[in-house]
Symmetry: C2
Subunit: 247 residues, 2 copies
């Protein structure tokens, strides 16, 4: 069965947390909105229209609120952490026991909280306004985010690695899960958006940095990161490089 | 087995979404931090110290990041939606099938998103600062929240009820789930915090309002709401009545 991932085609965004898991697992999937045109120039049913069509289908009993969403046969699942919770066991990136799965999901929900705050550094008033319309608020939000929130989150993730009774190689137990892929993405995103602040903050999280490097070396993930399937970070996604916010 | 709920004792907050499910189900639980003193004046191990003690226990391999968390035997689970996902099937407030459970959880994760935004109406810069330190930002955030976000969220919840093939009595399928309790709480909280704005917004969500009323009449929930176990809304929780923000 080929999974169908629906997400905005021009950004990493929340969809990237799903892509990383699918790519690391070598799972068969189609990134629907990134299919644009076939060779003969005819639309092949991809692009943003495909995404909007499914999301706004009036016959869909259980419509997603927003991308990303995953289609697996007749099932349409949204909310990034929910998608990963569903996918994880199917692609070999989740713990086997119920307690481990609840713990992995709990960590993924904290990732959700973190990336919402990372997004709000440039959109503290509302995502329907441009960054340029909320720059003073963005600066004040970001100061608090970098001074108080980032150290708290990174410190917690570091503690999770330290306390893992199976060792600090992975966030949960003794094998890689989708949570490790998300940790990689958080470190990578923060380094892109806030290189100065992150250089200071990451010094307190050596095990997390080691995990980032370990994930980046996983063969399928390394191949993905080097491919054109990996969209570059840019100023339309969650992690944006606005030097005036970095400190 | 008696569940142990750990949450701040003076507010409804995120813990209330768990309390409502436990109360509606008539489940045996202890609201740990609200146990203060026994009759002979000795501490019975409750209060905020009990909450902090568990959260900061250095021997806990899988520590919660923040309250609420639920203890069920040796298992400690945090993140409100994760707690409800775990509890739901055990207390008869979750769908029986996997697709239904994923859908209920997806809706609950949208509730998480909503209450984060409702909280940010008074804390748009950061929760470590007082509301009084971020009033101009709060006003601007709230204007956008009430004008753009609330209608979008309520419209979606209304659509979910409309499209439920089992009818608009419940959010998921043909029986009550924890999601219905959360819908009640959202309507109740919004009416408390933003009575003027909510009076306008709720006109577009008649099925959601009917669900609110239906939930409030459920016998065990009605008894809970009339009891001293239901903490009153106040200006330390998520939904705060600041008239200057209401419009």
């Amino acid at each position: 069965m080929t999974f169908e991932l629906y997400y905005w085609p021009g950004i990493q965004g929340r969809g990237e947390f799903v892509r990383l898991a699918l790519e690391d697992a070598g799972a068969a999937y189609v990134d629907v909105a990134r299919q644009s045109e076939s060779k003969d120039g005819e639309a092949d049913g991809g692009g943003v229209p495909a995404l909007m069509k499914l999301m706004q289908d009036p016959k869909l009993e259980r419509p997603p609120y927003a991308p990303p969403f995953l289609k697996d046969g007749a099932l349409v699942i949204s909310q990034t952490a929910n998608i990963l919770q569903y996918l994880g066991p199917k692609i070999g990136l989740a713990p086997e026991d119920e307690a481990g799965r609840l713990w992995a999901h709990q960590l993924q929900l904290l990732v959700t909280d973190f990336i919402k705050e990372a997004h709000d550094t440039h959109h503290p008033v509302g995502s329907s306004l441009y960054y340029e319309e909320q720059k003073p608020e963005a600066l004040r939000f970001t100061r608090n985010f970098l001074a108080a929130r980032v150290p708290k989150y990174l410190g917690y993730f570091e503690r999770v690695l330290e306390r893992n009774s199976k060792g600090p190689q992975y966030m949960v137990g003794s094998a890689a899960t989708y949570v490790d892929m998300s940790m990689f993405q958080i470190v990578a995103g923060m380094r892109y958006a806030f290189p100065k602040a992150m250089a200071k903050a990451e010094a307190a999280a050596p095990k997390l940095l080691a995990l980032h490097d370990r994930v980046a070396r996983r063969p399928r993930l390394a191949a993905y990161l080097a491919s054109s399937r990996r969209i570059a970070f840019n100023e339309k996604g969650i992690f944006r490089k606005y030097p005036e916010l970095d400190a």
